[in-house]
């Protein structure tokens, strides 16, 4: 019985039909970011040895490398060294009138904080300076910067505090010292000085605008509340000169929407008016930086722009315009690299550098990549420089379902997004508030008063601020045994496409290189959850990494098939000892890509048998054998796929591969001097599926 098959809607008699697979030529390819190690050709090894890119990466693209080495989200320590639980905050004790924290700074060997009493219509108020005590983690002592004398409905606010020459200077409203704030002077600014942070006296000498008849620059709607984001005044110690920037609030009796900048070279005895700059909101920051000509200058940051001030000429100049968002520039800071870091109301942070005269470089340093997860989005509340490469940023927490964070930004590197080309600096998690819609209002760094490094910070509470600190904030976990850690922390990796998001991989196992894991879940361990193909990364609990079990199999050993996977590792600290945390050095995922071959058929067409049994449609003046040969050659050169059927095979579409052209074994029949004859014989063909 002849073997007949259909090819491109025509039929052919063949001698035999061979079916096979076209095997892929490439090896399991090396994925970007993998450390150099001996290849295991049986599996692909997806290794995470640290997360230098930090937060903000939703997906990993294994072809371009984007997101590889980054994190979707994390509450773990990932800044340097092994990944551990996040560092643990300790609550500080405040009391009495220490309800709202403004800022703290080192002065004469101690850490002094400026605190304000909670405003109440039926109670007196105060602004005080208080010292941090490491023995009891409390704030005590100090003195009253300003207060009212009796139960009067006046509000007393502190705006800023700096150390200048031999004194501590405070900018507030009202009058200096205890019991002197009245309804008349409540709406005026005042500068006070103390040489011991306990006794405060007036430093608003001649020239300072505190006339209760003409300098009523504050409305009581501002003085009689405790909003941390009321940016009414800033101080700056600029060499021999003390500067004060105060907002002449438009709702105040004598206000005119101008920021007045005043200076004193004799510790507040006499003041001069330097400049006035219009603004819809108050001064956000007053820093010692540079003018555009690269000379040193005081720089004022407002919602509308960044201005340099010339004290010598009593002029100002715009360095960089902003969009007027009232959340622009709050507590902008000069970093250790000499650049000015400015938070914007839209959530970005700008890095400005004056690299030469009239050469301003502006770079957006983040949030990097695809941005932060929804719960951590927001804008900057406070920026703090530290004596390390880390710039600390209080961020977010301004709305329901938003939790405030402290991020560490690595200012020692500038990285580039491999797909967008955008430059950024890595952001790492430092701390996150457990309750939504509570801002972190201010931070401070100090080693006072026991030479222990601490990052101090204040968060909103139900009415009062709650003060915390974290000891050894920048310590590498591998180099300290006394740092304290959170009870549990999460590490969410970006969704991994395993090299090809369009085809399934068989995901086999997860492995960790981790120290200090316990033998049971009663101690330190790491749990592994995951989700496939877009499912939440909490969908499936793979199991726990313990000291005796550092590899976990997917699918009970059979593996699981997925085109992409999201992994979540949950770090658990020892329940009883806050210093015991897992230390993860490396996380690895092993999988194989399923590169299924295309089907292939090879066969030899008998031209004579085809002409006899299943001839094609005849072409005038053309022997049928020639037509058969032409039809086969047409298939070989077709630019589209052609149909193919053999036996009960479901009709499919095939093409002739370039490396396997038809082989024709032909004879010429019936040819003589007056007749060209015709070709016949066999044609050997190979066809493959298109996909």
């Amino acid at each position: 019985m002849a073997q007949v098959l259909e090819l491109d809607s025509k039929f052919y008699v063949v001698d035999k039909l061979v079916q096979g697979y076209v095997t892929p030529l490439s090896q399991a390819y090396r994925t970007t970011g993998v450390q150099l190690r001996s290849d295991n050709p049986n599996v692909n090894r997806y290794v995470h040895r640290g997360f230098p890119l930090g937060l903000g990466w939703q997906r990993m693209n294994r072809e371009t490398g984007r997101g590889v080495g980054g994190l979707l989200d994390s509450t773990c320590w990932t800044a340097q060294g092994p990944v551990t639980n996040g560092k643990l905050q300790e609550t500080q004790t405040t009391g009495g009138a220490l309800n709202h924290f403004r800022r703290a700074l080192n002065f004469k060997g101690d850490l002094w904080g400026m605190f304000m009493e909670l405003y109440a219509a039926d109670a007196d108020g105060s602004v005080t300076s208080t010292k941090f005590g490491a023995t009891s983690d409390n704030w005590t002592g100090g003195g009253t910067i300003a207060s009212s004398s009796a139960v009067v409905a006046v509000g007393i606010r502190g705006w800023d505090m700096v150390a200048h020459k031999g004194g501590l200077f405070a900018l507030h409203n009202g009058a200096s010292g205890a019991g002197n704030v009245t309804a008349a002077n409540e709406v005026c600014y005042k500068v006070s000085i103390s040489t011991d942070a306990a006794t405060w006296t007036d430093a608003s000498g001649t020239g300072f605008p505190d006339n209760t008849g003409t300098n009523r620059y504050l409305p009581t709607s501002v003085t009689r509340r405790n909003n941390f984001d009321d940016d009414m005044g800033r101080l700056l110690s600029y060499g021999n000169t003390l500067l004060a920037a105060i907002y002449r609030h438009p709702s105040a009796t004598d206000g005119d929407s101008l920021i007045g900048v005043y200076s004193s070279t004799d510790s507040g005895a006499n003041w001069a008016t330097d400049v006035t700059i219009p603004s819809g909101d108050g001064p956000k920051a007053l820093v010692d930086w540079y003018a555009l000509d690269a000379t040193r200058a005081p720089v004022l940051v407002t919602a509308e722009g960044i201005y340099s001030i010339s004290i010598a000429n009593d002029t100002f100049a715009l360095i960089y315009a902003l969009d007027g968002d009232p959340n622009n520039g709050r507590w902008a800071t000069v970093g250790n690299d000499g650049a000015l870091y400015v938070g914007l109301g839209n959530g970005s942070i700008l890095r400005l550098a004056i690299t030469d005269a009239n050469r301003l470089e502006v770079m957006r340093i983040g949030p990097p990549g695809d941005g932060l997860v929804t719960a951590r989005q927001g804008h900057v509340n406070y920026i703090l420089r530290t004596p390390t490469r880390w710039l600390m940023v209080a961020y977010g927490g301004h709305a329901a379902s938003k939790n405030a964070s402290i991020f560490m930004i690595d200012t020692s590197v500038v990285l580039t997004d491999p797909e967008t080309g955008e430059s950024y600096m890595p952001w790492h998690h430092f701390w996150q508030h457990g309750t939504a819609n509570l801002d972190i209002v201010a931070m401070a760094y100090s080693t006072e008063d026991d030479a222990t490094e601490r990052l101090h910070f204040a968060a909103e509470g139900s009415t009062d601020n709650v003060l915390y600190h974290i000891e050894e904030p920048f310590a590498n976990p591998a180099q300290t045994s006394t740092a304290k850690y959170q009870a549990s922390s999460i590490l969410r990796l970006p969704v991994d496409d395993l090299g090809d998001p369009e085809t399934n991989s068989t995901i086999l196992q997860g492995l960790v290189d981790a120290d200090d894991l316990s033998a049971t879940t009663a101690g330190e361990y790491i749990a592994h959850n995951y989700g496939l193909n877009g499912a939440a990364d909490t969908t499936t609990d793979l199991g726990d990494y313990l000291s005796g079990d550092k590899d976990l199999s997917f699918g009970s050993g059979a593996g699981v098939a997925g085109k992409k996977i999201g992994n979540r590792l949950i770090f658990y600290r020892d329940a009883g000892d806050t210093t015991h945390t897992p230390k993860l050095y490396e996380f690895e995922l092993q999988a194989v890509n399923l590169l299924l071959g295309k089907k292939m058929w090879s066969f030899t067409v008998d031209v004579e048998a085809t002409a006899y049994l299943v001839p094609p449609t005849l072409v005038a003046n053309t022997p049928v054998q020639e037509t058969i040969i032409d039809n086969l050659l047409t298939v070989a050169t077709s630019t589209t796929m052609v149909t193919f059927t053999a036996g009960r095979l479901t009709q499919t579409r095939v093409r002739v591969p370039e490396d396997s052209p038809p082989v024709l074994n032909l004879q010429v029949k019936d040819a003589d001097g007056s007749n060209v004859g015709y070709r016949t014989g066999t044609v050997t063909m190979r066809v493959v599926e298109g996909v």
Binding site: G205, T206, G207, P209, D210, N211, G213, T214, N215, N240, T241, S263, S264, T265, D266, A269, N270, W271, A272, T273, I311, A312, N313, D314
Partner: protein
Amino acid sequence: MYRRYISDVTETKKGLHFGLVLRTADNSATLGGGYCTIRKPFTDAMLETALGDAVQAIVRRGDKAFPRDKERIRTEAIAAGLEDTGAGRLIREQARSKNHADRGTLR
């Protein structure tokens, strides 16, 4: 050369009361300051002369040249009765400008 900063100007029937701070020409150091009173009547030229005298007094005596108790001075000025002849605006102009003309008007 000095730089004059005038602030907190109050004009009363008795005269003109204001704060005066004197800085070096480059604004880097303060020579002194205090609250001056220029008694009426005075012409514009007399006002400029008085300012010059006040400057010299601060140059010689610093913060001791003039009273510094601003609250007392403000209270006394208000008690004397406020007046507005434009002299307050004029002296604010003279804070840094030397180009005003003598209008010869008694105030």
